[in-house]
Subunit: 226 residues, 2 copies
């Protein structure tokens, strides 16, 4: 990309979906203006930029808004020079997209369901769903990583960003409900991967602690109970 | 692509998701072996090729399976020469991906919900959801097409394939429940677009009639009632 880029990211510090975009921009070494949003009192800019979903993240590039984290990460990858985020091999790229869709369609609704459950039965059901999805991600890691450190190989790639962005919330779920989403005995490969992800410079730069997630979950629960 | 490609598509004639892949392959002028599946009695090949979702479409390329229609269409577009299916402009490409996700996450669950509703109240709710999603697609068409014939411009592109593959089911829904999903007075742009899509050579080649959809819906309903 030649010329000066005007990049503004509407975000929320504890949103895994926003973290994905921040990690993608960081991977490409691109600087941007970060604007924290209050989702309890949505800004005009957010409502105007994402009228369909009214959600973060929104990346505003030279005045034009982009929404949906997976769409934005791919846009960032295609637009900017620097390390490739999606695999360059087309079959591996398709596989990464398949599992990214699985994270968003199956895994996220399951673990977010643990937080939002209104009864203990409902929570138990979501724990079971989450556990099944993690079992499938453990197998996916075995196939995708080919014995390397990350889903993306030797360095953090698309699927690492998409899945890894949720990890600090898993720790929040453990503290709040005593549920261990990734356990060393059932998912040894993901356990080791998660540790490597947390220790990476890319993650340390933008991933908050579990404390912040617990606080936000309590704030959401209080608002839902009103 | 150099060399001989071995392409086998596991499909179902009335599946919009399979039709997307067939239209993508047709756009690229690629020949393939089509293998109709019986979803009431799933084949070993389907279960082995898509163990996660056990669904069609599955494209098997030189022995390696690809699943999820949006993933496969992008793979086909990236792999084969010929007309580009996704927009080449990166912002337009991101916009097409955004609306494709909207079709799959909002529009499809809504119209499929009309078919699957167990009560009249539930059906009415799904009709309202479908209508709202169509209203948003009407606006999307206005923005994406820039006055041209299709979402993709002068010819059928990614979003046309993703959305257009559902149209024959809308006619089935009209016959079964008297619900007009795209109406000329509320969605004049989509009404004209849908007519152009139906008349296109690409659609005529692989899109069945509404009769087949009605028959399949009745078969599904009979199985669900067992």
């Amino acid at each position: 990309m030649a010329g000066k880029e005007d990049l503004k990211l509407l975000g929320l510090l504890v949103s895994p979906f926003v973290i994905r975009v921040r990690m993608a921009l960081s991977t490409k070494g691109v600087s941007y203006e970060y604007v924290e949003q209050d989702l309890f009192n949505k800004s005009e800019l957010l409502l105007k930029s994402n009228p369909v979903h009214k959600k973060v993240p929104v990346l505003i590039h030279n005045g034009k808004p982009l929404c949906e984290s997976l769409v934005i990460v791919q846009y960032v990858d295609e637009l900017f020079a620097g390390p490739s985020i999606l695999p360059t091999d087309l079959y591996e790229r398709a596989t990464a997209r398949f599992w990214a869709a699985f994270v968003d369609d199956k895994l996220c609704p399951a673990w977010i369901g643990i937080l939002k459950a209104k009864t203990e039965d409902e929570r138990a059901e979501k724990v079971t769903e989450t556990s099944a999805a993690i079992g499938q991600m453990e197998e996916a890691f075995d196939k995708c990583s080919e014995g390397k450190a990350f889903f993306g190989g030797d360095s953090i790639g698309y699927l690492d960003i998409v899945f890894g962005s949720c990890l600090f919330w898993f720790e929040a779920v453990r503290r709040m409900f005593g549920v261990e989403i990734i356990s060393a005995n059932k998912a040894p490969l993901l356990t080791a991967w998660a540790e490597r992800f947390r220790e990476s410079a890319e993650a340390k730069e933008v991933v908050p602690g579990a404390d912040e997630a617990v606080q936000y979950a309590n704030k959401l629960a209080a608002a839902a109970a009103k």
